[in-house]
Symmetry: C2
Subunit: 365 residues, 2 copies
């Protein structure tokens, strides 16, 4: 449960945000919007003044004794020292951070005398840009935000951090630091490696062959367009957990390769086994709202490639009261039309197809 | 260039479709719609009569001398014999097939006396279902259809096949059979393996860890939900080409693994190199209409999770005259809102963001 305002003193709660890049400035904007008094600090005076101009908080020195929560939004390398400094400077405050790897930071603070006021955190805030200019008060709305309490925290400190994160609009997921790092290795870091490995095969491919690329290749390699520098930091810093998963991948790959050079029956069996295991893994990814993944029905509709084409389609679908659960767009080379594949609840599909057809749309089953 | 009706005799052209599953029945419907006279045949009498009832063609025995094109839509194993039989039975006809691998079929027919009337084909028709019941006259509209002429074909036969495929509504891509099989290994079969390998890691993962799954994991593993039996046939039949690419993947993976157990600088460099190569490969995937992939600007908009939410968004976007090039939907567990990330032309993004904000939408940068 995320905390509520009733856990807090009657006056405005006070937060300090240390580090006013994209994340810190967004945290300041969000907490300010939720009624907190926010103080900002950053060694980069330019970033600091820009964040203040954007309304993320004040440049006034806070009264150390009234600070409820300190959010350290420093680079990962600088985070342990900044957390330790905050614990010392603000004697009542709960302190949290936002670094994308957690075990090394929690380990670094394990011996600190005020360790029970620290709760590690990691907002999964999507697209990485940088600097206060890209900040948004709603950056975390509807996003997951991991907290990594160790069971040794002061109850009031933990409640204060949960309250702040909840009011920022994020969905709190609690786990152990190492569990977090291992989880992001599997659900984020290794998928990045796999997408990059797949896309690297295309570097020297004939253009004619590339013309056969379908939606499958586009999906698998979408995140292969990610920032190399950013990922070198993330994966380089989580190498042990990533290597463990990559070794499992390499074992499966070696098994498959061996089978594919054998008898036809062995080849088929090996591919069938791997794809079956992939089915099982894929089906475990939570669908909307943490529910188990659902089987949707897919309705493919031909859309003219012009402004408003999709809008007209969605207008009709909306009028019919059907909710679109997911959507993929696909274009064939050389053709002035595209296909929109709508994922809808299975029960809604037949009527939707009939109604769209009746309205003049070309619908594929 | 796809041929036109002027290449053909003045009367209705005549096609025979051998095999009335999903593909064959769809071919019959499409050719019939384009004015061809279509005759159907299938050893499965039930499928055959269903296809005829659906209007895919007639059950009458055709006059062998007037048949222009025979489309063999048999299972891959049965295709070479069916093509050979068609070449013998229809002395004037061009014969083509639809099997998803081409080299083995073309090799099997290399010694046939009427080989110059055969042109191999492979429609990239997306979602695999089966049986005539799923057939659509527009199944191939806007899709790529590979033809694999060897340069030994009779000009009239080649023109007839091109004409038929063009009138079916598909976009013709011509390449050598082995080039086709190698291309689909890279752009389709290996991506399937990579998606399955990634998803297989999730089978034993804690549910809490799965809650951190983001759009990246969902994209990479989308096709991991594919049919194991179907893929065991496809990849098992193209094992040599697939193994060649998998060996490149394994080499890259081994290099990365070695680097990740080394010094921090080596780790980062190795990840940076791989992700950079992935960037280069990803950017070569053709965008719309065969043009080089474009850099789009991304605009993330918070949408209420209710029928019509997306429709209202697209209505506004359409009114603004902005074309949506791609779209991804994302939901966080436990939150009743979603994020729609719209890919638009970079020049259109700032105005779109302003206009959407002005209309009351929550827009993320």
């Amino acid at each position: 449960m995320s905390g509520s305002a009733s856990d807090q003193p009657a006056g405005a709660r006070v937060a300090v945000v240390l580090g006013t890049g994209l994340i810190g400035t967004s945290v300041g904007l969000a907490l300010g919007g939720a009624g907190w008094t926010v103080h900002l600090a950053d060694p980069d005076v330019r970033a600091l003044s820009q964040a203040a101009e954007l309304g993320a908080g004040s440049l006034d020195e806070p009264d150390a004794d009234v600070v409820d929560v300190v959010v350290v939004c420093a680079p990962p390398d600088a985070t342990p020292a900044a957390v330790a400094g905050a614990l010392e400077r603000f004697p009542r405050a709960a302190v949290t951070d936002v670094a994308s790897l957690k075990a090394s930071i929690v380990d670094a603070l394990a011996g600190h005398v005020a360790r029970d006021r620290f709760v590690g955190g990691h907002p999964l805030a999507g697209r990485e840009t940088s600097g206060p200019g890209g900040a948004r008060s709603d950056l975390f709305e509807g996003r997951s935000w991991v907290l990594t309490p160790m069971g040794v925290e002061d109850a009031e400190a933990l409640a204060a951090v949960r309250s702040a994160v909840g009011e920022i609009g994020a969905f709190i997921v609690e786990m152990k630091p190492r569990e977090h790092d291992e989880a992001v290795a599997v659900v984020s870091h290794v998928p990045q490696v796999m997408a990059s490995l797949t896309a690297a095969r295309l570097v020297d491919l004939e253009a004619t062959s590339l013309a056969l690329a379908g939606q499958g290749l586009r999906d698998v390699t979408r995140i292969a367009a990610s920032d190399p520098w950013l990922w070198s930091q993330i994966i380089g810093g989580n190498a042990d957990a990533v290597v463990e998963i990559l070794d499992e991948v390499a074992d499966d790959l070696a098994d498959l390769r061996r089978a594919l050079t054998g008898e036809q029956a062995l080849r088929s069996q090996s591919v069938r086994d791997l794809v079956t295991r992939g089915n099982a893994g894929r089906s475990r990814i939570p669908g909307k709202h943490g529910a188990a993944a659902q089987r949707y029905a897919f309705v493919a509709v031909v859309i003219p490639d012009e402004p408003g084409g999709l809008a007209r389609l969605f207008d009709v679908v909306g009028t019919l009261g059907v909710n679109i659960e997911d959507l993929a767009l696909e274009h064939s080379p050389g053709q002035p039309v595209g296909l929109a594949t709508l994922a809808v609840q299975p029960a809604a599909a037949p009527g939707l197809m009939d109604d769209l057809s009746a309205a003049g749309w070309v619908v594929h089953r």
